[in-house]
């Protein structure tokens, strides 16, 4: 790999993208809940605009853009780097954060006559902190720097789980926090080992230096296990269902759509950017096998949940499993690797939008019906057509039916599996789709059936529209042109089949 230039044109945009929500967090903290809401809402379009600018710069350059903090190139300084995938993830994060923020106004507005509302302040601060941490993860070029971002992400996400202070949410949050800390320790150990070996934590410098030494594998295994714990890959999912099912809907959307993708993104960085030169087929297969278990277990358990939010949360456990097929299907520099890579990234995006939409819709259902027991959904689709349309479209993507991003992801992954001769991965991919069909049927069939659902409070149109908008994006992903997938290849080592 060529030495990275310290700072490329447009590199300061990366700093801005991280600093903007970080500054928003600080000002919100200083100015109180009423101002915090305004700051958070006001920043979302700016952040979206910045993310789009970054994507345009990357597309125009056809290469990653970078910024060396303090003007010092690595290994002395710390680099921020955005390639195709980073840019796409930043845009995704800005859209979902914006959707969650505008959706949450109804719940977390500070009422008139109240000076300060603890829940509201927590929400508006933490959602900006999550956003800042995610952006730092997407552009961070240094493994320790990324560790800091990962911690920030966890500490910002935990309070969202227990925002309403009920005992069971506190227990869920505590569970999340403790297990995430386990993961952090494991990750940090691996980072320390790498630093001891090579004296740098810069991703591109490490990529040039690493060899297949036992110590390197130990570091990779520890870091990966830590990241899996934070991603809630089965069987490390103990914290996810209670945390995601008990958080407020807007928070669940961000947690399920984005936060678990943050740690997964780091796993991608580790295996595809730090270690791509090493023989990763066997560890990749281990990760894929764990993914397959997650798909089957998560889907079966989703089938058996009585409450909508728990069903959607277990569906996340299953959908996270799909992400891990990227490790066997995109490894190396084969002709099929780009297919697997595109499929993996498409799965991240499709799940992010579809699941965020479904959690927002599930929140509306719970508010409107006063409960989210699936057994009590008879006739609810007639009372809440837009919301159940959202659930249906999101479900379509989870099942992998066209025309949705979920279909596109499965289509790409299956083609990669066929072309690489690893047909074994097609079994969980298809089986998971069938099981998803089962749990989506469980939601929709009673809701669409005849009957009169008792509506306690009609949800506002605007909130229904926000959820539907996210589901429509999940649908629109199916029409991504080839140029989009070429863009995802920018900056990936071995991209486009170049020799190692």
């Amino acid at each position: 790999m060529i030495a990275q230039p310290a700072t490329t044109p447009g590199g300061f945009l990366l700093v801005l993208a991280v600093l903007l929500p970080a500054a928003g967090t600080l000002f919100s903290f200083a100015l109180g809940s009423r101002a915090a809401e305004k700051i958070a809402l006001g920043l979302t379009p700016v952040g979206f605009f910045l993310a789009c600018l970054v994507a345009m710069k990357v597309a125009a350059a056809g290469a990653p853009i970078a910024y060396a903090i303090g003007g010092l190139p690595p290994p002395l300084g710390i680099a921020l780097r955005a390639d195709g995938v980073s840019a796409v993830m930043m845009v995704t994060a800005s859209i979902i954060v914006a959707a969650a923020a505008f959706y949450a106004r109804a719940k977390f507005a500070t009422p008139d006559g109240v000076e300060e509302s603890r829940g509201a302040l927590t929400f508006w601060i933490m959602i900006q902190a999550i956003w800042a941490a995610l952006n730092l993860i997407f552009v961070g070029g240094d493994l320790f720097n990324l560790y800091v971002a990962l911690e920030l992400l966890t500490f910002a996400a935990v309070p969202l789980v227990c925002i309403d202070g009920r005992p069971e949410t506190l227990a869920a949050a505590l569970r999340y926090l403790l297990f995430a800390l386990f993961g952090s320790v494991s990750y940090l150990l691996g980072v320390a080992l790498l630093y001891g070996l090579y004296g740098t934590l810069d991703i591109s410098l490490l990529a040039q230096r690493v060899g297949a030494a036992p110590m390197v594998w130990t570091a990779a295994a520890l870091m990966t296990a830590g990241l899996l714990a934070k991603t809630a890959l089965f069987p490390l999912h103990l914290w996810l269902p209670p945390a995601h099912a008990n958080a407020p809907a807007a928070a669940s959307a961000v947690l399920s759509g984005l936060v678990v993708k943050g740690s997964f993104f780091l796993a991608l960085r580790l295996w595809f950017y730090v270690l791509p030169a090493l023989p990763t087929a066997a560890p990749g297969a281990v990760l894929g096998a764990l993914g397959a278990l997650a798909v089957i277990f998560g889907s079966v358990l989703a089938l058996r949940q009585a409450r909508l939010k728990l069903l959607v949360a277990y569906s996340t456990v299953a959908q996270i499993g799909y992400l891990f097929f990227v490790f066997p299907l995109a490894a190396g520099a084969h002709v099929w690797s780009p297919l697997g890579w595109s499929g993996g990234v498409m799965q991240i995006l499709a799940h992010a939008f579809a699941k965020a939409a479904m959690f927002l819709a599930a929140g509306l259902v719970a508010e409107a019906l006063g409960h989210d027991r699936i057994a009590g959904f008879r006739g609810a689709a007639r009372a809440l057509p837009l919301t159940f349309l959202t659930l249906g479209l999101g479900g379509l993507s989870l099942m992998g039916l066209p025309p949705t991003g979920g279909f596109e992801a499965k289509w790409l992954m299956l083609r990669a599996a066929a072309a690489s001769g690893q047909w074994i991965w097609s079994l969980p991919i298809l089986g998971g789709g069938l099981l998803a069909g089962g749990y989506v049927y469980r939601i929709l069939a009673p809701a669409l059936a005849d009957g009169e659902a008792a509506i306690q409070a009609r949800p506002e149109r605007s909130r229904e529209a926000i959820a539907l908008g996210l589901a429509v994006i999940a649908l629109a992903l199916a029409f991504a042109p080839q140029g989009f997938f070429d863009f995802l290849e920018i900056g990936r080592p071995f991209a486009s089949g170049s020799a190692p």
């Binding site: 594998w217 295994a221 296990a225 899996l228 069987p235 103990l238 992998g400 039916l401 066209p402 029409f479």
Partner: protein, 534 residues
């Protein structure tokens, strides 16, 4: 011109669908949706007399094609959709839920005949399969709900098999094209040829009710109201036929695969009749007749594949098109007979001609269909089996006519209520149309009028009718076989699988304990290390 019509075939239903999203337009869009198949009808008629065309939209990755087999099926399907839709909405205003399901099914049911690349074929194929659930399964009746769940399960399973098949097809195409013509050209040399073919036969076999995947069809048609059963049995099932036509490499002789498919087809043809003879409700008997007829089509396509005969595509499209008209008309006949109470002699003759058309009765469209299949069933074993299939069909259709005239009061009341009045009033015209229309589209209709051919067509029908009447006279009772036959076994297996659910729950509860999770974390580290050191 034809390119524009081809685009409009898909665009018209899409526009109606889009209009449904605007609340105040919805009702009108649904009421006028009978116009949506008009471009498809025009495209089909044009396409019949033109060389195959393909329209590509590289930006969208979309490609449309129209060849004579597709055009014939498209034209007949569009006609059927228009007639039934117009009658249904003239007679009553079905709710939005039913209307949108109808429109989606129609969209898919027209699209499958023109989709030219893997992804769009998959999309329209999903549309013709899944939304049909909404045409019959939203009901308080547990039997209808059961039919709906089983229908969806098979549809989704078929979708999954086809997705994998299509992925293998795409992977076998060296230049990355997803056009059906390109992937099919590359298939014979593809390393995944056998796996892809197996998946294709299983996937489309589910749609056309090949054994052992036939059980959903009788439940579906029994549960569906008559207009829905008419379009599903007529136009819907043909999605599977066009699927086989498009995705079997008919130009290259493949003896093993061809003969296997032919055997499966004939087996299905006789199995359908055998089980159908044990049924008592007219709708269910018609469903088994469909299974049997689709078996004949599969057998002919299999023999075509074995000989590398591309002509089988056009022949079986014609056979399928005839079945499309006749089977839908037969479902409407149930309604017509139910409302008439007693059949006049003239109506009885018409109904009998319609029913026996499926067995190849001379002078009906069925005689032409039989003629179209003779290239595949020319001699030897296939010819014998095809003749036996005709006899068997005649038996089953006689059995149908008997039970049609003996419908219970309740069943007749249901059938009368389900069928739009317009269709009942014009039933004789519809039935005549279904008998005569194929004559305008046959290659050499004159041949069917030769004395030899008339005799060839007549005697199996006579034997079949006589056998059925003799069997009835003998008073021998058929064994009681539930509608859906093998489905009972699948349901039992499914229940056993569902019983595993608590096992998963217990395992999940255990794994989510702290010690287990910590141990898992450690094990993952060790597993990764072990994998890396291999």
């Amino acid at each position: 011109m034809i390119a524009a019509l081809l685009v409009a075939t898909l665009a018209a239903p899409a526009i109606f669908l889009a209009a449904c999203f605007v609340g105040k337009w919805r009702e009108r869009a649904l009421a006028w949706q009978f116009l949506a198949p008009a471009p498809g009808l025009a495209a089909g008629i044009f396409g019949l007399s033109h060389a195959p065309v393909a329209v590509d939209f590289p930006g969208l990755g979309l490609s449309l094609t129209l060849d004579p087999p597709g055009a014939l099926l498209l034209a007949f399907a569009a006609l059927l959709w228009m007639a039934v839709t117009a009658a249904l909405w003239r007679d009553r205003a079905p709710g939005a839920r039913f209307g949108i399901s109808w429109l989606l099914t129609m969209f898919g049911g027209l699209g499958v005949f023109v989709a030219g690349d893997l992804v769009s074929f998959y999309l329209v194929y999903a549309l013709v399969s899944l939304p049909a659930y909404g045409l019959f399964a939203f009901s308080e009746d547990p039997e209808k709900r059961r039919a709906g769940a089983i229908y969806l399960a098979f549809a989704l399973l078929g979708e999954a098999l086809l997705l994998l098949a299509f992925a293998l097809l795409a992977a076998g195409e060296p230049h990355g094209s997803a056009r059906i013509a390109d992937v099919m050209a590359a298939l014979p040399a593809s390393p995944w040829r056998d796996a892809a073919l197996a998946l294709i036969v299983a996937g489309f076999g589910m749609k056309i009710g090949l054994i052992p995947f036939n059980g959903w069809m009788p439940l579906n048609y029994a549960a569906a109201p008559i207009p829905a059963a008419a379009v599903l049995s007529g136009a819907g099932v043909k999605a599977g036929v066009i699927g086989l036509i498009r995705f079997l490499p008919l130009g290259v002789p493949m003896e093993g695969w061809g003969e296997a498919l032919a055997a499966l087809g004939f087996l299905t043809a006789f199995y359908g009749v055998a089980i159908g003879l044990a049924q008592r409700t007219p709708k269910t008997i018609l469903a088994y007749s469909s299974i049997s007829q689709m078996g004949v089509i599969a057998a002919a396509l299999g023999l075509g594949l074995a000989r590398g005969d591309t002509g089988a595509a056009g022949d079986m499209a014609f056979y399928g098109a005839n079945h499309l008209l006749v089977k839908s008309a037969l479902f409407l006949t149930i309604g017509a007979v139910a409302s008439a109470g007693r059949l006049s002699r003239r109506s009885l003759v018409l109904a009998a001609a319609l029913a026996l058309s499926l067995a190849g009765l001379p002078l009906t469209g069925g005689a032409l269909a039989k003629l179209a299949s003779k290239a595949q069933f020319a001699s030897g074993m296939p010819a014998l089996l095809a003749t036996l299939a005709s006899i068997a069909s005649a038996m089953l259709m006689t059995h149908f006519l008997i039970h049609l005239t003996e419908m219970s009061g309740e069943a007749a009341e249901d059938a009368r209520r389900e069928t739009p009045a317009v269709l009942i009033r014009f039933w004789p015209a519809l039935a005549l149309g279904a008998l005569l229309l194929p004559w305008f589209f046959a290659d050499a209709p004159g041949e069917a009028l030769s004395l030899g051919k008339i005799w060839d067509g007549f005697w199996p029908v006579a034997v079949g009718v006589a056998a059925a009447l003799g069997w009835r006279r003998s008073g021998l009772a058929a064994p009681k076989i539930p509608a859906g036959d093998s489905i009972v076994l699948y349901e039992r297996g499914f229940a056993r699988m569902m019983a595993l659910g608590p096992v998963f729950e217990t395992a999940d509860a255990r794994l989510r304990q702290w010690p287990a999770a910590a141990a898992s974390l450690l094990l993952i580290v060790l597993a990764l290390l072990a994998a890396a050191s291999i």
